[in-house]
Subunit: 400 residues, 4 copies
């Protein structure tokens, strides 16, 4: 592959990136693609090749702003281009499956935003395709970026090392408030045909993945309830705007069991006034406890049950030490990181997996498993909170 | 009634108190009985008359320490004494019903610790008896003391005044950790025959009452899961102690609906390492949100959705202003109150209701309603998280 | 001494208390005198004997409310009464010296509110008198109640045990806001002839004593600045009220050195809007750090420099464990204590010192030393922040 | 000027940047130069032209990593290059003056890291040179990046709009702990000849600039004390390393007055164990208060004195709303920003000032004024805390 003429390539090898979608997720992905090799010693240096988007003018403007030298308005053309080694999918969930399947078929590595798909069936097809492609050396990853918050990665490390002992209880929540006002207009995120679900796929998906990641365990069943507080919204901010129907959940709450026995509560809502992006996780084990809130994303609270009771208390660990996950690449202690860093870390891990010829985590099979949990939540909610098990099969699901 | 010879009586009227039980609850109640008229202008000044307890020596020692001039080892004798106008029941739940019924039958006012009883049937009988006794001018109250935390009383006031708008979501939890260590010995609180249930009756009862109180609404149904993490415990701290069986829940988690439509999650556990007495309540309405944690009991967090977005944020209200509920009786702003004050407030309210010849809140009917919620939780948990409705009858339950 | 007829005396010996002053300080002292033996095994049970106050009607009303069986309008008569063993001085600072000197001369034990006096000269006379009286078995104590916050007592213990190593830096502040509004009327606390000084004697005195207590060290010199933000205030809340002159400091800030070398900043103000009673102390040593804020008085923050850096962080110690100072007498973990408990603890310590025939801490000599610090602050502030040393003499100052 | 071949230039005009120094400050500046036009509509797009550093190999490696196509080992050559329009000075303080003066003489715009210089004399010369250059259309800015924390910019806006009323008190501190361990080796930051001073120039400079910026006011005098806790340190981490002398302050504390009358305390230390980068600012005005701590840099605490007292409390404003300063360029509410964003904002402001042909803030005159405050602190500390005034001349100091 040719070197990017403008980018000194510290590692000697680069790889072209084609990204589909250029809104919020596209902007933050682009920043990560531009920045990752400036901070991490990745085996492949990403070269921004082409940006995909339906509207030519808006896509060109986004490309200029984000630093893409070329655009395509047809994603099928984009995924087929020779200068594209990685396809990065930043579109709404309804197009994830077809783009990802085409990209894998075209021999590309694929990074796909979460939720993996809008249905379990799609996700199964994607996971199967990813497994086949893996045999071909292609790598597929799903974008659960919150795993890459240093505090969350530290939490996982501490759990894995046994610092918490046996995990007994989990309380997970993802609280936002941007829909609390009924005057806020419709968006594609409130349409089932585009987004698959509401708070569930948008943010509960993150809570589920993050909790499972930190525990190193999987949810085995759920009992759930969902609610739509505002069933009609104006189509725009303009006065007198026509109304559109909201056909997804505004909030989802559920009880869950982990395979290892832990008891959990989950909640996702976009109606919690004052909570802007509160992805919260609290875990109680037999030896200690952890607590996290993304609104203070550089902190992890840790209670060490082994401490002298007279001196014990939740420690506010500022996760900015050089020994903390990912942090060594950045600034000195106390110089905080932000939201966008989770994507830079994600892409560093992805490029490293590609370079090391191994499957990245979380793979499409992991995305499928989260999809199954979300599906079980909807099933239980539709069935009067009755218990719904989640398949614990960790086998990949080649079209049986 | 005669004046207490030792207590100057600012109001001119006193009433004798007989208390049954002298452990943790007894000690804090006694302090409240001794102190209430020093801070509140109550219509009746309590006069400590007699302390009841089974063991004569331990009861005498407690009486000397707590300030009771006399003791009885038979509660039936105590409730019948002429110098007793109020019977205060601080025993384990298995004796609440018989003592309360006898006290009401003897014409006394009754204050009964929570949970009201160990079963719905007992609670129904008690509520019916209390209703009959009310016709006779007797007052009966159940000891949900957390209603009397000034921050909680302020929260209720703000909800009632519409400061939060329509309540959409509630997250309630009561987290402790004193059972996290499997070496902690058995207590009556871990035996179904004494305590009725585990975390459920002990602390979930408080979470349910507090949430219902603040919302001014009632739970209409639940979906629940319970767990016992440690099924056998030593009978004492001594090495080699024999083991006893724990036959109650160590934790309970449940989804709930309020009659007014709010969606809620509840959790009660005594295994959340590092959380000592974290009764937490977070409420999201259409105009604002509130958050409370008893571990910072002098604070209430309030998000005013009407604030300019650029200046909006959760306010840490230090609930120590003279205008805050109960606070005017105490110290200047910033001079914190503690746990015991909730009992002083409770007793002030009880004495005021007696003096004003009206029913106090929460009455036995309220205690019964909480009991029904706890029962529904157990039923759902025993039934695979299936939805269990809670009777919304607010009628009192005279033996139909 | 005769037993109080109404108070069962668990220890067999009681002592009569005469208190002068019945406003805020009187009310909280009275509560402590009534309650101390209910929770602590004190060698002497206090018996409320007589309340002193200038206005007969208001004093009688306060006595009835607080539980004093008798009143005196002349403090000289009160201190001479045979049924008074302890004189408790809760008056403004201008009368501390004469009452305390008379009480000591009459052979009584004396508890005197802080600041000990309104001038160094008065304080020297008082300390000398207390030293002479000590030879006679009389005990004298000054009411720096914040030493008795369990978190502060724990902090001192940790410093004394070397958990912080060598203390390098201290930042202490006492922030209130009740004078922030210029419409708030005059009080005796704003008159130099009554209060001696403003924020300095009222609250800086506490900050100085608390910091010195926790460090186990003394201030050796200061550089200071004071300010009066509002120089005239109405005499009452009534519209059109005449104005009175404020001739004390509204705030005082100073740099200080401790004898052991620590560098410190101090601040006291009653103009910090939103801070209600924020007595803050933050200490950095070579092995660890501590932080405290009275607005969260049940918490102590501790950073252990010996912790693994990847897991280190300020611990929020909830100082409600049975092993924490004073806490064993009260409630289970997580059941918070309040402001008034500091007085109950203070009086328990005072009674214990009397019973054990040893000098209590802080004694009048300690009160004198704080007075010298306050005086040095005023001297430096009046002298363009020039450095003013504080005599480190720990000898008591018998009229040389 | 030619377009960067690789960077699509949304605005049509680019400007070459030459940066001297490539350590911590260089890395974060480079990231900002690469990123600024991806998020802000700057009138000039920066083009990374050349990196300067003394050591050829290390400079080349840094250039490859950071994205500089060329290097120079002689800064004089760098500042003279035709493809350099902006000189960015990221070296230790001892070379600021000569590089900046040469760059201005060469007709370049200059961004210089703080502190502006190592002495007032140097700073005066630089400010004079900047003023002369301004007449020539050249812009000079000093890198007080903390002004560009959105919460700090919001604080300034609120103060300027009168939301706090008259400012009465300020407490400012900058607390770090990276020197707490005496085994930490020497660095240039501990040598007076390189760094000018210790905590003073390194971090007190930030505290002074930030406080003055937020108040829109200037310090008129100080009383100060400094201390060096560890006077000798090993030259490296290797065991048995020789010792070097620390000849700068480890901590500095000072009282200050603002021209507008506010009373302030300042502290800077690198020995506050557990505080990693705690730049704290607390401001009390007649109408409200603000509090900030960089360790929670996305938050601003605001107490509105106009709120109903029963609902008033410090608001935790999450400064991530689109209307907050700088935030609109980034992510949705609750998606936090980090340390590096302050530099991106700084450079956006610098480029905008260049484009709009006006002087940026803070200019070299502002850097000089901070230098004068630091100098006054050293003078007072060397003179027994005696009061030292700070020239309030806002006139620029053309060589008189």
């Amino acid at each position: 592959m040719p070197m990017s003429p403008s980018t000194p390539d510290p590692a000697g090898v680069s790889i072209g990136v084609g990204m589909v979608g250029h809104a919020f997720m596209g902007a933050v992905h682009a920043h990560a693609w531009r920045s990752v090799h400036r901070f991490f010693d990745v085996p492949l240096v990403p070269r921004l090749a082409v940006l995909g988007g339906r509207d030519p003018e808006r896509t060109k403007a986004a490309a200029a702003k984000q630093g893409w030298p070329d655009v395509e308005t047809d994603w099928a053309t984009l995924v087929a281009r020779d200068d594209v080694g990685i396809v990065d999918i930043c579109t709404p969930g309804d197009s994830h499956a077809e783009i990802a399947l085409a990209a894998l078929a075209a021999g590309k590595h694929v990074l796909c935003e979460k939720p993996l798909a809008n249905s379990v069936a799609e996700a199964e097809e994607m996971a199967a395709a990813a497994e086949r492609a893996a045999a071909n050396g292609q790598r597929a990853m799903v974008g659960f970026n919150y795993r890459r918050v240093p505090a969350i990665a530290l939490a996982r490390k501490m759990v894995a090392e046994g610092r918490l002992g046996t995990i007994r209880q989990v309380r997970a929540a993802y609280l936002q408030d941007w829909l609390a006002d009924p005057a806020t207009p419709m968006t594609w995120r409130l349409r089932r045909d585009k987004a698959g679900s509401g708070a569930l796929g948008d943010i509960a998906a993150h809570a589920v993945d993050t909790a499972q990641f930190v525990l190193g365990d999987r949810i085995s069943g759920v009992s759930a309830m969902t609610e739509t507080f505002v069933r009609e919204r104006p189509l725009s901010w303009e006065p007198g705007s026509a109304l559109g129907e909201v056909d997804v959940d505004d909030c989802a709450v559920f009880l869950a069991r982990f395979a290892g026995g832990a008891v959990a509560t989950f909640e996702a809502t976009r109606f919690a006034l004052g909570r802007k992006n509160a992805l919260r996780l609290e875990i109680n084990g037999s030896r200690g406890s952890l607590a996290f809130d993304f609104e203070s994303m550089n902190e992890l609270s840790f209670y060490d049950g082994d401490d002298d009771p007279a001196e014990a208390g939740f420690r506010r660990i500022l996760v900015t030490e050089p020994d903390h996950p990912y942090v060594g690449a950045w600034w000195p202690p106390g110089h905080l990181l932000g939201y966008e860093h989770t994507f830079t870390h994600e892409i560093a891990d992805f490029l490293t997996a590609i370079g090391e010829q191994r499957d990245p985590e979380p793979g499409f099979a992991d995305g499928l498993q989260v999809q199954r949990v979300l599906h079980a939540v909807e099933e239980s909610a539709g069935n009067g909170t009755s218990w719904v098990g989640v398949s614990m099969s960790t086998e990949r699901v080649i079209d049986a």
